[in-house]
Symmetry: C2
Subunit: 449 residues, 2 copies
C-alpha cells in the first residue's frame, strides 16, 4: 500500500513541476481523500492549495480534512476562504466537524459555527459541550430509532423513507414515549419476523449502552468485547442521544495504542515525527530531565563511595552491566503490566498477585544472570568476595527493578492515573539509581572496604 502511495506522491509532484494541470486534475479527482492526505504531507503549502483547488467533490475534501495531521490542517485552513471551509464542513458528519473545529483558534471556530447552516452547527455545538475523549464528544446523531409499538413492516418502511440518509443502519433502536432506550433489533430480525409483529415483541431488551460521559477508551473496549457494530449513547435519563460506530472505535484503539507507546518511551502523547526539529526537540526535552536528574543523583552516590572505589578501581567496570540488567527487566515488567491493564488482561484489583509474580520472575532471572555475571567476575579477578558481591548486586537490582516496574503502574492504575507514564524515563531512572546504590553498598560491605 505504501509503495502505491509513493508512486502517487511522485507522480503528483512531477505533474506539478511540469505544470500538467489537466492531467493532474484527473489524477486528483480519481484519488481517495485518504490517499491525498498522504500526498499532502510531502507538498509545500502552496502546492497543497493548488491540489485542493482542483478537487471537485466536496465530500472528498471532507475526507482529506479528516485525515490530515492536526498541525497540517490548522496551517492549511489558516488563510482558506471561510465560505469554502464552511461548505466542506457542512458536508461532513457532526462528530468529525466537532473534532476539526476544536483544533481551530477560538475566533475562527466561532466564525465557522456562526456561518454553518443552522441545523448542522447546532449538532456540532451540542457535541462540543461534552468533554474531550468522552462518548458524547464522538457520537453521531445518525441512528434509526422508532417507538417500540411500531410493527416490523412499519419499521422497514421508515427505514426506506425517513431514515434513508442514515449511513450505517446496523441496528434499529426501540424507544418509549419519552425517547428512552428500551430495546434493539438487528435489520435481519426485522425481515425474518412476521411483518405485523410489534417491535416490542421480538426486540432484545438487554441493550448494551454507554453514557455520554464515558471515556472513549471504555466505549471502544465494550464495542470490541461484544463484537457489536455500534453502541447507543444515552443521557442521564437513559434517553437515546447518539451512537458510536465501529469505524470510530478502530481510530480510538489506534490512537490510544500510539499514545500509550509514546508515553512509555517518554515522548509525550502526540506523535512528534511529523513536527519540525525544533518542535520535536522541545517536546522531548523535559522527559529527558528525569533521566538527567537521576544520573546526577547516581553521580553523587558513586562519589560517596569514592574512597572504596579508589581501592578497587575495577568495581566501576560492573556499573554498566548491573544498570543494564535492572533497566531491561524493569522495562519488561512495566510494559507487561501497562499493556495488560490497557487490554484488560490484568485488573488493577489484582495488585499483589501481579506484583508478587513479577518479583518472583525478577528474582529467578536475577539468580540466573547473577550467577553468570558473577562467574565472569570470578574468571577475571579470582576474588570470591567480589564475584559474590557482583552476583548479589545483579539479583537485587533485577528483583527491585521487577518490583518497581510492576508496582508503580499497578498503583497508578488503582488511583486512576494513566499507568503508561510510569513506564517512561521515571521508572527507568529510579531503577538506575537504586541499582547503583545497592551495588556499592553490597560490594563495600562484602569486600570490607
Amino acid at each position: 500500500m505504501y509503495d502505491q502511495n509513493r508512486i502517487l506522491v511522485d507522480s503528483v509532484k512531477r505533474l506539478i513541476r511540469r505544470g500538467a494541470t489537466s492531467h493532474l486534475k484527473k489524477i486528483v479527482n480519481k484519488t481517495h481523500g485518504a490517499d491525498l492526505s498522504v500526498v499532502f504531507r510531502s507538498l509545500s503549502l502552496s502546492h497543497q492549495k493548488l491540489v485542493f483547488g482542483m478537487m471537485d467533490d466536496v465530500e472528498q475534501k471532507g475526507v482529506l480534512f479528516n485525515e490530515l495531521d492536526e498541525d497540517s490542517f490548522v496551517e492549511f485552513v489558516e488563510d482558506l476562504d471561510l465560505d469554502l471551509l464552511v461548505k466542506v464542513l457542512e458536508n461532513m458528519s457532526a462528530d468529525d466537524v466537532a473534532g476539526l473545529v476544536d483544533r481551530l483558534p477560538e475566533e475562527k471556530a466561532s466564525a465557522v459555527l456562526e456561518k454553518m447552516q443552522r441545523e448542522g452547527s447546532e449538532e456540532v455545538e451540542d457535541l462540543l459541550t461534552y468533554e474531550d475523549d468522552t462518548a458524547g464528544r464522538i457520537m453521531v446523531p445518525d441512528f434509526v430509532a422508532v417507538h417500540q409499538d411500531v410493527t416490523a413492516r412499519e419499521a422497514v418502511a421508515s427505514l426506506q423513507k425517513e431514515y434513508i440518509d442514515v449511513e450505517m443502519p446496523f441496528y434499529l433502536y426501540a424507544v418509549d414515549e419519552t425517547n428512552r432506550l428500551v430495546g434493539v433489533s438487528s435489520l435481519r430480525q426485522l425481515v425474518v419476523v412476521p411483518p405485523d409483529k410489534p417491535l416490542r415483541s421480538f426486540m432484545t431488551t438487554d441493550v448494551f449502552s454507554v453514557s455520554t460521559d464515558m471515556d472513549q477508551e471504555e466505549v471502544a473496549k465494550i464495542v470490541a468485547r461484544y463484537d457489536i457494530l455500534a453502541v447507543p449513547v444515552v443521557d442521564e435519563n437513559n434517553r437515546l442521544v447518539g451512537i458510536i460506530t465501529v469505524d470510530d472505535v478502530i481510530d480510538i484503539f489506534r490512537r490510544e495504542a500510539t499514545e500509550d507507546i509514546l508515553k512509555m518511551a517518554g515522548v509525550g502523547e502526540e506523535f512528534v515525527e511529523t513536527k519540525s526539529v525544533v518542535k520535536s526537540t522541545r517536546i522531548r526535552l523535559p522527559w529527558l530531565f528525569a533521566s538527567c536528574l537521576g544520573g546526577i543523583f547516581a553521580f553523587y552516590i558513586i562519589g560517596h563511595f569514592e574512597q572504596s572505589l579508589s581501592q578497587l578501581t575495577y568495581l566501576a567496570a560492573f556499573i554498566p552491566v548491573i544498570m543494564g540488567m535492572g533497566g531491561n527487566i524493569g522495562t519488561q515488567s512495566s510494559t507487561i503490566v501497562v499493556r495488560g491493564l490497557a487490554t484488560g488482561r490484568i485488573s488493577s484489583r489484582d495488585l499483589w498477585s501481579v506484583v508478587f509474580k513479577e518479583l518472583a520472575v525478577g528474582f529467578i532471572l536475577g539468580l540466573v544472570y547473577g550467577a553468570l555475571i558473577g562467574s565472569v567476575a570470578q574468571m577475571r579477578f579470582s576474588l570470591w568476595a567480589l564475584a559474590a558481591a557482583v552476583g548479589l548486586a545483579v539479583v537485587s537490582s533485577m528483583s527491585i527493578a521487577a518490583l518497581v516496574g510492576s508496582l508503580v503502574p499497578m498503583v497508578l492504575s488503582r488511583i486512576e492515573v494513566d499507568p503508561a507514564v510510569a513506564s517512561g524515563p521515571f521508572v527507568t531512572t529510579a531503577i538506575d539509581v537504586i541499582s547503583v546504590f545497592f551495588y556499592f553498598k553490597i560490594a563495600t560491605t562484602m569486600l570490607g572496604i
Copy 2:
C-alpha cells in the same frame, strides 16, 4: 466495566462455594460469553467445567471459546468430550473455528475436523491452507454476491431469501460469469435506485479488494484508511472468495499493537502475564541475554581504561548519567520510528530524512544536557578539562543513540524485517556499549591520562 466484571467474578465464586447451583445457572446463562471468559480466568479447571456444563446456549459457548486465552482454551478442551467440542465449533464461523483448531495438538485437530459436518469442516480446512496472519486465513465465506446483470429488485429479493443467513450484509458484491469481482453496491444504493436498473449500471466499479496472501496488518490498514466496513478477498484470478469485516480488523489492530509493544520491551510477541512464573521466566530469559552480553562487553571496555580510572577515580561516577541519557533518547528515537512505521506516518523510503532529523534532535538535546551535566561536573571538581570531556561525552552519546535508535528500525523496515524487535534490548545495549567507550576515549584524551 472492569468493576462490573469483578463483581461478576466474586458472585460466581461465592455461588460455587455455596453450591447454589440453580442460582449460579441463572447468572451464567444471563451473562455474555465474553464476560464469562473473564470469569474463567479466575476459576480452577474443575470450576470452569462446572460453569461450562451449566451453559445452555451453544453459541454462547462459542463466544466463550473465542475469548479464552490461547493456553486456557487448549487446557480446557484437553479432556472435553469430542462430540461436545464439535457441536460448539459447528455453530461458530469458519474463521473463528480455523483459529481455534490451529491451536490444538495435531491429532486432536484432525479428529475434530473429521467429526465436523462435512460442509463446515471443508470451509475450515480451506482457510487452514492459507498462511498464518494472511487475509485468506481470517476471511469468512459469509458475503452477498450476485451477477452484475441482476436488477436492484432481484438483488433485494435474494438478500431476503438466499442470503438471509449472512450476518453482516454491509455491501452487495457484483461478479461476472466466472465469479470475478467487478463491482460493489451499498445496501442503501440498492433501495434508492429504480428497481429495474441492473446492478452494473449503478455499482461502483472501483472496488477496494485484497488478495488472499496479503498480510493481515496491511488488510487492517486498508479497512481503517478508507473507513469501509468489509473488504472483499480475491484469489489470484480476481475471483471473490471471502470478506474480512471491520470487527476482525479491530482485533488485528489490538493484537498487533500489543505484539509491537511487547517486542519493543523485549518480552517476545505473546502476552506472558497470564502464564505461570516458570513459563514467563523462560520467555523473558533470552531477551535479557543481549543486555547481559553488552554489559560484559562494557566491563571489558572499562577494564581497558583501568589505568586511567585509577588516576581519576571519579570518572566512574559519570557512567550512569551518560548511559542513562543515551539509553533514554535512543528509546525515544526508536519508539517514534517504530510506531511511525506501524501507523504509516513514516515511510521506510524516507530513511535519510528521518534519520537525519533524529540525529539533529539528538545533537541539540545533547548540547543542552551536555552543558547542564558538564556544569555539574565543573561545580563539583573545578576542572575544566573534565567538565568539557563529560559534556562532550553526553553530546556524542545522545547523538549516537538518536542515530542508532532511528537508523536500525528504518533499515530493518527497508529490508522487510519487523522493526519492532530493534527497539528492544539490542539497540539499548548497543547504545550503552558505544556510549561507555566514547566517554572513556574522550575523557582520557582530553585529560591526557
